[in-house]
Amino acid sequence: MQTIKLKKKAYLLEGYSIVGPLEGKGPLKDYFDYILKDDTLKESSFEKSERKLLQDIVIEAINKSGLKISDIDFFFGGDLLNQIVSSSYTARELNLPFIGLYSACATMAEALALSALFIDCGLCNNVVAATCTHFSSAERQYRFPLEFANQRPPTAQWTITGGGASIISNIKSKIRINAVTFGKVIDYGISDINNMGAAMAPAACDTIKAHLSNMKKKVSDYDLILTGDLGKLGSEILIDLMEHEKIIMGKNYADCGCMIFDKTMRVFMGGSGAGCSASVLNSYVLYKMKKGDFKRVLLVSTGALMSTTTSQQGETIPGIAHAVELVYEPENTKNSVAKSKQKKDV
């Protein structure tokens, strides 16, 4: 079965998010931990900036959780650059055992799911799951030079600058990871690389359907069902596809790509990138769940698994979506880090 129900041991202890200047002007600006003023981070290339960004995110997340780098057993990470260089170079700097992952923009959910499984099986105590993307480094790898004068089609999406890290731990906190679903690779024959939403929506539909039926839950059981980066068009398509499967998505459905930008910003169908779901999860969702506004959240990060070479050779775009179910546990206090440390000392 593609859904794995956990044994109530894995908790989302803390999260940290950093976004770029444009994202920092969007509707979620008050929730992000840090908003960059300069998206180069004073580095000489955008690849270096992305690396620095991820490194800062991971270190700050660990600090925020009250743990030390030496307390972290594994680092699960990935990004969009070829050979996931941002993550591996970050792991080099942090000197942590590294498990490199790639599911394009679904990497955050994959990292969370695997982290939670590691903790749940009792293999380790604390792990960090992190991803990030940078608009400028993604553009030069996937599309055109930044200064090239071209018009984007209306279905295009805007890769966000930003990312997030989550500390998954067996130390109790208010947010527990309840179940994870690993998605199948679904391809409905879309070949337009400027229409990622349409390419990924069938994968999101398949994963959500599988998760709901395996968990024997309804859409209304969730306070929030959050897809990664389908964008405006992709979300509309998902709603239609789900309706076709006789599942009605209600007002509790949202998409990170649509949430992160303002309607007035020239970002076409909305945000995309591995950092998209990572930053929204570790800011807005984390905040709302800690407060108890959301009691059950399903994060469904979506990714398009093509490369520039396969696209040029006329291949269609396969999509993937992984789901992570988070539940609110009010009885667990915030000081559980301190408590567990005391226990160790005794």
Partner: protein, 148 residues
């Protein structure tokens, strides 16, 4: 339902959902931007003819083109020309300024990978196909012209 049919239906459905670019506003913007660029070119041509009356017409044209190519490279480097292009579309692409931008923008972008593997290799990634098509086209036209 077999896969091909499902994919075909899905593609048709997606196509019906995709917002269409409005033709008239795009055409107007392209005409305006392209027109302004051409007017600047003509202005420079007239200015050079007035300043240097001894120059032949072809030489004045060359000077005008050099100036306009330089201005575009400069505007590309300081991040203005891509804004013009995003608004004006084909109006900024068709004149020689578009060609200039398509060569200078990768040169700026890939400077980090070094002079040989960065600038020299990547400089013609966008303009290369245009040059190849132009050369091949002129060869074909030349042959046709020879036999007519």
């Amino acid at each position: 339902m077999d896969k091909n049919k499902r994919n075909q239906n899905y593609n048709l459905y997606v196509e019906s959902k995709v917002p269409k670019t409005k033709a008239w506003p795009s055409l107007f913007k392209a005409f305006l931007v392209g027109g302004i660029i051409c007017a600047i070119g003509q202005g420079l041509f007239d200015l050079y003819s007035y300043l240097f009356p001894n120059l032949a017409e072809s030489e004045v044209t060359t000077c005008m083109l050099m100036t306009i190519i330089f201005i575009t490279c400069l505007l590309t480097g300081i991040g203005i020309y891509d804004v013009v292009g995003a608004w004006g579309g084909a109006g900024s692409v068709i004149p020689i300024t578009g060609f200039s931008n398509s060569i200078s923008s990768p040169a700026v972008e890939f400077k980090k990978e070094g002079i040989i593997y960065g600038i020299c290799v990547k400089m013609f990634t966008i303009a290369g196909p245009v040059i190849v098509c132009g050369v091949v086209g002129s060869i074909v036209c030349g042959f046709v012209g020879l036999f007519i």
